[in-house]
């Protein structure tokens, strides 16, 4: 019951993200087979496998950039709309009259948001695959899955952080602001630490891949050494632990 409450509350937002995501994916994937002919950019069907693979490579890079842009933003927004929004709407008093333990509400809200985030990831991804297939008549995804899993892991972490922060501060706005500030601080710090190979280099930047728009989400997966797989594992563990912390907080709240 509470699942549908959460789902219905976010349905318009979900639809907006899906439309936006598909539009951005088309913006990124359609031009991959464009060539300059007599000073004009026109669509040219790739005649060789190599040309198709190059087009897919570009398409994968563009898709990864769009997915990162879309998923991080959607994750922060959907996360803040969990139980933090219920606090703002003063729904807690009604919620806890239901014959359910408090943890039920926390985990239901968290799972609903995560399910919606998966929709936001999967449908644009399907559109990207379809568009690239139509343009090239072949499927050469190469690093696509790796890049998308990397982005999804980061997005899930951001989602969990916003969810927990919004619940802790009892305000959707505060949760969103805290996580947005943390993300900016992370990327700014990363610029400084990542370029000087300091002691925290492993955390902020392992390796900038020259042929990708990767900015932090993917380089953990793409690093040539492949010795830092524990970082994504750490991110997944944090993603799973944060709802527990939110549950502890919610169970001890004086309502």
């Amino acid at each position: 019951m509470f699942f549908w409450n959460c789902w219905l509350r976010n349905r318009l937002r979900l639809a907006a993200y899906l439309v936006l995501g598909c539009a951005l994916i088309l913006l990124g994937t359609l031009p991959v087979t464009m060539k300059s002919v007599d000073g004009h950019w026109v669509w040219v069907h790739p005649k060789t496998v190599e040309a198709a693979v190059t087009a897919w490579s570009d398409g994968v890079e563009h898709t990864a950039a769009v997915m990162m842009f879309l998923l991080l933003f959607a994750a922060a927004d959907l996360g803040s709309l969990g139980l933090g929004e219920s606090a703002a709407r003063k729904e807690y008093d009604f919620l806890i009259t239901r014959p359910r333990p408090r943890r039920h509400f926390v985990w239901t809200a968290w799972l609903t948001g995560l399910a919606q985030l998966c929709f936001v990831a999967l449908i644009p991804l399907a559109v990207a695959l379809l568009t690239l297939y139509v343009l090239t008549y072949g499927i050469y995804p190469d690093r696509l899955w790796l890049l998308c899993v990397g982005t999804m892991v980061l997005a899930a972490l951001v989602f969990s952080m916003t969810f927990a922060m919004a619940l802790a501060t009892e305000s959707r706005r505060n949760g969103f602001e805290v996580v947005f500030s943390l993300l900016i601080v992370y990327y700014v710090t990363r610029l400084f630490v990542g370029s000087s190979r300091g002691g925290l280099y492993w955390f902020f930047s392992l390796q900038q891949s020259p042929n990708t728009y990767a900015m932090g989400a993917y380089d953990w997966f793409l690093t040539a050494q492949r010795v830092h797989y524990f970082v994504p594992l750490l991110m997944i563990a944090t993603t799973a632990v944060l709802p527990f912390l939110a549950q502890l907080r919610f169970e001890r709240q004086d309502l």
Binding site: L27, G28, P31, A65, F73, R173, I184
Partner: protein
């Protein structure tokens, strides 16, 4: 009276941002001076002590401090502008207090002006706090005078005012602080992402040229004051103010 309420509602946020900006200014100043000292020491070991070494030290410190102010200044302008803008009068709709606010014997536009006055003053102090934290290190390093660093502040303030205006307007349109914040963040991200995407993917350079022109105030290589860009951002802020005034004037409640 509304001035007091606006300040009361946003004071914690303002104090946190001021303290954060001051801390970042002081820490980055300390980092730069340490780093410049280290490099000057290396230079001094490589060649006999010469006055040029100290000139090098002063110039290096000045450049790095200036970059820090511009680099962190844009982040401070962005965060303070968005956060304080989302504390605009539009939040009263979400809180359900707008009906009460409008019973006050004041014109509707008065509330918008009061919000803007409070918010812009706070934003100016927050962005300025970043530069003030850096200034003692300029004196310490005997680098060039503070004028060249402070010269970048009005442009950052103008940029912050435009972001504040955007967030304040979207909060008014969305009718709640979270909606305004999300819409304005989406607006900022689109402004940064779309021109680059159109240029890289669709080979259309009109928007990226316009974007580069508007963001040249953030360039590390620019040492002069950008009158035209500053006026552009102020005009953008004034447009958002005008749109907010019109919106609240013709809105039903």
């Amino acid at each position: 009276m509304y001035l007091w309420k606006t300040w009361h509602d946003s004071r914690t946020r303002v104090v946190v941002y001021i303290l954060a900006a001051l801390s970042v200014g002081l820490l980055s100043g300390l980092e730069v001076v340490t780093w410049a000292n280290w490099h000057t020491l290396q230079l001094t070991l490589e060649r006999p002590i010469h006055r040029n070494n100290w000139d090098f030290y002063g110039d290096l410190t000045f450049d790095l401090l200036r970059w820090q102010v511009i680099g962190y200044g844009q982040v401070a302008a962005l965060l303070a502008g968005l956060s304080l803008g989302a504390s605009g009068v539009g939040r009263e709709y979400g809180a359900g207090t707008m009906h009460f606010v409008l019973t006050r014997p004041r014109a509707r536009t008065n509330f918008v002006f009061t919000d803007w006055m409070t918010g812009l003053t706070a934003m100016v102090i927050v962005v300025g706090a970043l530069a003030y934290g850096v200034l003692p290190f300029l004196w310490f390093a005997h680098a060039q005078g503070p004028g060249n660093i402070l010269m970048g502040l009005p442009s950052l303030w103008a940029l912050g005012a435009a972001i504040f205006g955007l967030a304040s307007f979207t909060t008014l349109v969305g009718g709640s602080a979270p909606k305004g914040l999300v819409l304005s963040v989406a607006g900022v991200l689109t402004y940064l992402f779309l021109p680059a995407a159109l240029y890289e993917w669709w080979h259309m350079d009109t928007l990226i040229k316009a974007q580069n022109w508007t963001l040249q105030i953030l360039s590390r290589d620019s040492y002069h004051f950008h009158w035209s860009v500053t006026v552009f951002w102020l005009a953008a802020a004034a447009s958002f103010l005008g749109a907010s005034l019109l919106w609240i004037k013709f809105r039903e409640v």
